[in-house]
């Protein structure tokens, strides 16, 4: 996975550098340094460094395959399922917020998230799912007068 991440970074770095060289001028017409000067330096360095890191990762992988110890950069052991679960919940919440606004979506999201992460404690989960969004609503909307996300489908009377 580390190599996949690095290759994705390399792709981004090449794209960034391509734009810097093709669309952005190194010098302005008046002879001063142009908008492409800094991005070209950054982009070129990013491509070189990412390529170097990929070579290192490939070398580490070969060493591990040959029975050597894992390199210092190898990812620690963990559980992908729990990360993906939270990622999915957070992603779903971001969509819900757009559809139903800040308050309703937070209640729905917390009910879903807590029943998956804290199963069996229905009363505790229900209390958190109602009290926490209410507190956040009062803090953001009433006390701080900040923008709460508006709903596309407004189902609340207030």
């Amino acid at each position: 996975m580390r190599i996949v991440f690095l290759v994705a970074l390399l792709g981004g770095a090449i794209f960034y550098t391509y734009i810097a060289f093709s669309d952005l001028n190194f010098m302005t017409r008046t002879g001063r340094l142009g908008p492409g000067f800094f991005p070209r330096l950054v982009g070129a360095a990013m491509v070189v460094m990412t390529f170097w890191a990929i070579l290192d990762a490939l070398r580490d992988r070969r060493m591990v395959a040959a029975g050597g110890a894992p390199g210092p950069d190898d990812a620690p052991e963990g559980v992908w399922r729990d990360f993906l679960l939270l990622l999915g919940l957070a992603f779903g919440y971001a969509i819900l917020v757009r559809l139903f606004g800040g308050f309703v979506s937070t209640v729905v999201y917390l009910i879903a998230a807590l029943s998956l992460l804290n199963p069996g404690r229905h009363l505790q989960n229900a209390l958190v799912a109602v009290i926490f969004p209410t507190g956040v609503y009062v803090l953001f909307d009433r006390v701080l007068n900040a923008n709460m996300p508006p709903a596309l489908f407004d189902i609340l009377p207030f």
Binding site: M1, R2, L6, L9, A13, Y16, I19, L24, T28, R32, L33, G34, P35, F37, F38, P39, V42, G43, A45, M46, T50, W52, A53, D56, D73, A75, P76, G78, V79, W80, D82, F83, L85, L86, L87, L89, A90, F91, Y93, A94, V97, R98, G102, T106, Y109, L110, A113, L114, L117, Q124, V128, F132, V136, L139, F140, L144, A146, N147, M148, P149
Partner: protein, 507 residues
């Protein structure tokens, strides 16, 4: 005398009922952020920064600063009671803090860490009061070449401290620089990397990236590494009736430890990139080597707890010097603080204290009060924080997602920014997983536009010659200091890491 009158003026701005309330809230929030494992001051500051936009700038900066140094106090509670540091700067406090609690001295350990943190924090603020105006005076002669070099010094020292993963640190910094180039080029008015999007013309805002990397990214990593399933079963219970207060001997035996830890911590804190973690580990190591009973370290020696506590709090104060007087943050936390200043239209630097005395001195004065408040909270509200430790991470995690998302939205009422925060969270998770440095990315995102502007101005002044960096005495000094730091910092890091390894092996 001028310093004294400036400080009194700062106090007059800081001591208002509403500002004191903000200070108290900041101190409490900082403590809570410090108590939650996996969340450091950077995450706390980034997540709570949007909430301060409706406030008066002095109150807001006082509150953010209190979150920053308050987290140093809070992180130690879990180090002592749970053997789990709330954040990296309190790792050294577990070495003797937890053994003290296991020996039935949790109460004295908690009080002594509060006193040590107070002493370190207060000595740090006294040194800021004296030294910040001097730093401002010296840096007034600085021009674009010096500012570019200072920005590079901040980046280089941070990268040097990353150690064996330095290549990944450089890539992280370059991603930050690249993100900093998005938007309209201020010199020519040409759009860069906006791809026709009106939302990107103003550039990529710092807040969604910082909240994504430090808030959501850290949370994803915590779930990946199963922190949400670890119980607080090893929490040491303590009762107030069982010798809660430290003995006179505890104070007497650690009085010079506090002095040494404060000074060492402050000096390390001033150095960009070194920070509170290195300071605390170095202070621990120094104290053990000076002790007549080094064999007691790791077995519950009070000096082993007091040394890192004074040092990490003094270091967090020391880090304010380059931030206020040069506008150069030395860490991710101070980068978030710099971003807060910039969002309010304030530009820290040599003229900051002269042009915004009420803000600069108001914040410094508030730090004296904040440390007193934190001392009181630490001693009398420990049961409250023990209850917070007991809140399961599996409940806390989903609530943090809510704060991250709604906090990002409130800044510009932009759904694009919430998706940007979400993307930064996913990238932040993979960066954390594969040894990249989110701190370097954030620092580069803040410093990148400043560095680019300074470099272009420098090369315009010199007609394209890089020799200008060697022609100016101030530039030469900065280059010299940078080289010295690049050589010395890894040695300091090794001393600290050596202390950590020795404790792990011993205990």
């Amino acid at each position: 005398m001028e310093i004294f009158s400036d400080l009194v003026m700062g106090l007059s701005y800081a001591v208002t009922p509403i500002n004191l309330a903000y200070l108290l809230i900041g101190a409490m929030v900082g403590m809570i952020v410090g108590v939650i494992p996996g969340f450091g001051p950077s995450a706390g500051l980034a997540i709570l920064l949007p909430l301060t936009f409706g406030m008066d700038p002095i109150g807001a900066i006082m509150m953010l600063a209190a979150i920053y140094y308050g987290s140093m106090y809070g992180g130690t509670i879990t180090s002592i009671l749970l053997n789990t540091p709330g954040e990296s700067a309190t790792v050294a406090s577990t070495f003797d803090g937890y053994p003290l609690a296991k020996k039935g001295r949790a109460g004295p350990a908690l009080v002594m860490q509060a006193v040590a943190s107070f002493v370190g924090g207060t000595v740090g603020v006294i040194l800021i009061t004296i030294l910040a105006p001097m730093f401002s005076q010296v840096s007034r002669s600085f021009g674009p070449p010096e500012y570019f070099l200072l920005a590079m010094m901040g980046m280089l020292t941070l990268l040097v401290m990353i150690g064996s993963n330095w290549k990944l640190g450089v890539i992280s910094a370059l991603i930050g620089f690249a993100l900093g180039t998005v938007g309209v080029d201020l010199e020519t008015g040409q759009s860069r990397y906006t791809f026709g999007s009106a939302e990107l013309i103003g550039g990529i805002y710092f807040i969604p990236i910082a909240i994504g990397l430090f808030g959501l990214g850290e949370l994803f990593y915590a779930f990946y590494s199963q922190i949400h399933k670890s119980a607080s079963g090893s929490l040491v219970e303590y009762g107030r009736e069982q010798r809660f207060w430290p003995t006179a001997q505890d104070f007497l035996s650690t009085r010079w430890t506090m002095v040494r830890g404060s000074i060492l911590g402050f000096v390390v804190g001033v150095i960009p990139g070194a920070g509170a973690t290195i300071a605390s580990l170095m202070a621990y190591s120094t104290e053990r080597s000076l002790s007549k009973t080094p064999e007691n370290f790791g077995q519950g020696e009070m000096a082993g707890l007091v040394a890192p506590e004074t040092a990490n709090n003094a270091a967090s104060s020391g880090a304010m010097i380059p931030l206020l007087t040069l506008g150069i943050p030395g860490s991710a936390s101070t980068a978030v603080l710099l971003a807060a200043f910039l969002l309010w239209g304030l530009r820290p630097g040599p003229l900051f204290m002269e042009q915004n005395p009420e803000l600069a001195w108001g914040m410094i004065a508030s730090m004296y009060l904040g440390n007193i408040i934190l001392l009181a909270i630490n001693i009398f509200a420990i049961p409250l924080f023990v209850q917070i430790i007991k809140v399961p991470y599996r409940i806390l995690g989903p609530c943090v997602v809510v704060i991250c998302l709604l906090g990002t939205f409130t800044v510009h009422a932009s759904f694009v920014e919430t998706w940007l925060m979400f993307a930064a969270g996913v990238v932040g998770f993979f960066m954390r997983l594969y040894g990249f440095s989110p701190a370097a990315l954030v620092l580069a995102l803040v410093l990148g536009p400043l560095a680019e502007e300074a470099l272009r101005q420098t090369l315009t002044i010199s007609r394209g010659s890089f020799g200008i960096f060697l022609d100016r005495p101030a530039s030469l000094w900065i280059i010299g200091v940078t080289i010295a730091l690049v050589v010395l910092l890894p040695l300091m890091g090794r001393i600290g890491a050596g202390a950590g390894r020795a404790e792990k092996a011993g205990g």
